[in-house]
């Protein structure tokens, strides 16, 4: 069996202690550019204590409710982001994922794409899912390019679902089926 589920070319996956995670998340939360690419809820400033409580409540879910991973860069070992496979529907074998690279120095250099490849391998090879779904804000063009690269297909747009900075924009829906992933894997 090929057991390299947690190691990619540029990144590897870990579970972090909640203190380490809370410190990283706190830092990333203060970058409003990062947060506006990642989440719909309005930006707020949270103490590290509050972030830790939120992680322990919402992120340390027991499988199969959610599968959450932290991402570290192989070179330098820096904690750079996370991804999660949520709402894994046992009967339908689908999941809605979230992914974020919190360190801006690691944007646009292939780290997110490498992490996504690990996510897809895990979804299809270990969770045996039939498809992986995601929603991404239409203005997050860098992420959308990365998702196309890893094989996701456009499935539609939820019109006017976001109002930010006085502008309305869409939320884009993308998905990849197992057979598409199998063809795409080098």
């Amino acid at each position: 069996m090929k057991n390299d589920l947690f190691h990619g070319d540029l990144v590897y996956l870990t579970a972090e202690e909640s203190d380490t995670q809370a410190a990283a998340f706190s830092r990333w939360f203060r970058d409003t550019e990062y947060m506006r690419l990642l989440a719909v809820s309005p930006r707020v400033t949270w103490s590290t204590k509050k972030v830790k409580e939120w992680i322990e409540k919402d992120y340390e879910k027991d499988r199969p409710e959610g599968y959450f991973f932290n991402i570290r860069a192989k070179e330098g070992d820096k904690l750079i982001g996370f991804f999660g496979l949520w709402d894994v529907e046992a009967n339908h074998a689908d999941t809605i994922i979230s992914i974020g690279i919190g360190e801006p120095d690691y944007w646009g250099k292939g780290f997110g794409t490498d992490a996504m490849r690990l996510l897809l391998r895990y979804a299809f090879v270990e969770l045996n899912l039939h498809r992986v779904s995601l929603f991404v804000f239409a203005y997050n063009t860098r992420a959308i390019q990365s998702y196309y690269k890893t094989g996701f297909k456009l499935e539609g747009r939820m019109r006017a679902a976001m109002l930010r900075g006085g502008k309305r924009d869409d939320i884009v829906a993308m998905g990849i089926l197992r057979e598409e992933w199998e063809k795409n894997v080098i």
Binding site: V40, S41, P42, E89, A90, N91, H92, A93, D94, H130, R131, S133, K153, E155, G156, R157, M158, R159, A160, A161, M162, L163, R168, A173, G175, L177
Partner: protein
Amino acid sequence: MDIHKQLFVGPSVCLGPIDHEKDPPIMSQWTHDPEYLRLVDIKPAYPISAGQIKKKLEALEKEIEESKNLYYFTIRSKEDDRLLGFATIRWIEWTHGTGWIRLGIGNSQDWHKGYGSETLGLLLEYAFSELNLYRLGAEIPEYNLGALRLFEKVGFTQEVCRRQALNRDGRRWDALIYGLLRLEWEAQHEK
């Protein structure tokens, strides 16, 4: 604005609160009909007792209170106050003005009588004119032809096709997302 217009009353249905004593046994009966369950939910069809439903309804009211982004109504027949179904607006994002609609008429004998249509009309009025939302969404399995017809009739557009997202009866089905914007709904009502 016509302040005399009743937001929760239609020609044959009323939207109202949960009756924690009377509703659980009826709702439990609905969960013994797999056809209903498979139309209204993607979770595996599974029967639930009145006692368990009572607990779920209590948890639901707590969630409504705490989350402040969820509205839940029971649908009752105006004529005899009989419980017909439920309707919710959930996952509301206030800063974006968006919400998701879900409704169900529990007993198949009550289908095709216009109750869903009337309820949806009341819900849209409530969402757009009272909650001042900008956009409503609904996720509908492709095999739920009744719901597709109903939502299309009131003006929802198909926006997303989540291909093969559902697996039932040994085959794959698409999960469709439909959307309706307030300005589209207002335009219809001006006619």
